[in-house]
Structure formats: structure tokens, C-alpha cells
Symmetry: C2
Subunit: 167 residues, 2 copies
Amino acid sequence: MQIRRAQPSDARAIAEIIVPTFREGSSYTVDPDISEADALAYWLSPDKETFVAEADGMILGTYFMRPNQPGGGRHVCNCGYITRAGATGSGIGRAMCVHSLAHARSRGYRAMQFNFVVSSNQSAVKLWQDCGFAVAGRLPEAFHHPALGYVDALVMFRSLERSAGRD
Amino acid sequence: MQIRRAQPSDARAIAEIIVPTFREGSSYTVDPDISEADALAYWLSPDKETFVAEADGMILGTYFMRPNQPGGGRHVCNCGYITRAGATGSGIGRAMCVHSLAHARSRGYRAMQFNFVVSSNQSAVKLWQDCGFAVAGRLPEAFHHPALGYVDALVMFRSLERSAGRD
């Protein structure tokens, strides 16, 4: 599997991955009714670097990286990752996260933060913990899950200083 | 003191309040070099409701409210407050926060979240705690303070359910 920068010609494959996830509405705080064009505009916005994970010519996942805050917070990055439906559980998310940690260091970021990990998304929480992230905060009932109702969201954080790493 | 919705004619006074705060760079994650036009575009963007605190015809503070996240997170609001330099410490921030809590309830929000309270801004941290906010998370060295270097940022949160309130 190769992880590389997204190209304009990847837009169709990226849309196939991200739009169903947004529609399903259980993991991202994006309007489930977002249009495909707006979803792509969000995922590929100029403030982001966007990557794809490709195997045998098929795009199986995508992630973005951006500064989590401007100004005095710009040394902390934020990422979002989505694996293609049907390809989850096969290590693509983990590979993208490992790739992003290395890329973030190469960019000079000092830490990475996930602002809103839905607590009921247990496989994601475990994966991020495996990748060295700690729960920095818990937001009570901050997410309205389409099936579960109000559930907590987690703020997850990890330093990218060498001494703190374990990836 | 009256707290009312910002009008287009308030732009000059709002800029006088917000731009020096952004320039000073110790409390907001905004590029300190932001132009006045961009600062106003940020503070008055269409996703926000913006208010001003006025006494004797002079605008002494301003705050905004917006959904903190779209989609499944839109029942939690986010606010930002700035008091005019020279008018701090006189209860304007507190009055704006109390106003915002009532307005948020009237809008149907279930909770209010501050994503990034600079930990060295102790008067703000104390004020939000006085207004019922708890520290939901601590982001290690997430803010680069112009004088203090890297300092922690806090995620602060409070429910707006009647049973949880103490304002």
C-alpha cells in the first residue's frame, strides 16, 4: 500500500469514501446532508494537505492535515482519516495515522490533536490510543449520534517530541 | 449597560476592541498580523451571532456565538468575548457571559464550549469557572504565548440544562 498526496484526479474516489461516512453521521461532525461538491471542498480545502492510501490502483482511504488553530496554536496539527467502507479493519487507518505522524514531524508540528472523537466509535478510540494519543478531555453529550442519541466526544492529543513517541 | 445585537454601524468600535487583542496575541489563536478587514470578517461571519455591550453610548465589549460544530455537534455552542482595553476588570466580560448563557438557552443549545482558553489567562479561567464552566481538557503546550513561550490551553465546557446551572 502506498500513501501519497491526493491529486485532482482522485476526487471521484475520495468522494466515494468520504460522502457515505458523512451521510451515515456517526463519526464526523459534518452535516449529513452535505453535497458531494461541498464535502470535497471541505476535505480538499486550501488550508489542508490531503493524502490517499492506494493499493493495486484502488484508493482505500484518505486523510487530511491542517494547523488546528492559527496564530499561537499553529504548531499543533489536526487530522481527519476515513477508510473506504468494506476496507475497514485491515490496517489502513493505522497506516494513515503512522504516515501522518511522520509527515507532521517533517512539517515541524510539535503535537497532533483530534478535537472531536465520538466516544461510541470505540475502534477509532482504541486505534488512536495505540498510536500514542491520550484522552485530553471529555465533552459530555457533545455529539448527537443517529442511533445512540447524545454521547460524549473526546479530545485526543499527542506530543510529537521524540522522547514522547512510541510509534 | 445594555447588551444588544451588533449593527453594521458598530464595525468601527468592534474593530477598536478586537484588533488590539489579536495583535497582542496572548489570548486568541488568531494570526497577530490579521488585517482589520479580516478581523471584522471573522468576528462578524455569517455563522455567528455577534453582540455588543454598550454603556453611555460607548461600546465596551463584544461577543459572538456560533454552533461549535456542524451536524451531530450543533447543539453545543461556542462563544468568544473581548472587553475593550482599559475597561477590563469592571464586570463587562461577566455580564456578556451571563447574557450569552441566557441567549444560548433561548436558542435551544444544550451546552457551551470554549475550545481554547489560554491557561496563563488566569482572569479568564477564573471568570469562566465562576460562570459555571469546568475544565474538560488540558492541551499540553498547545499555545505559543508571545512572552511566556509554550503554555497549556484548556477546553472548558458547561451544560445549559437547568439542573446543572448556577448562573
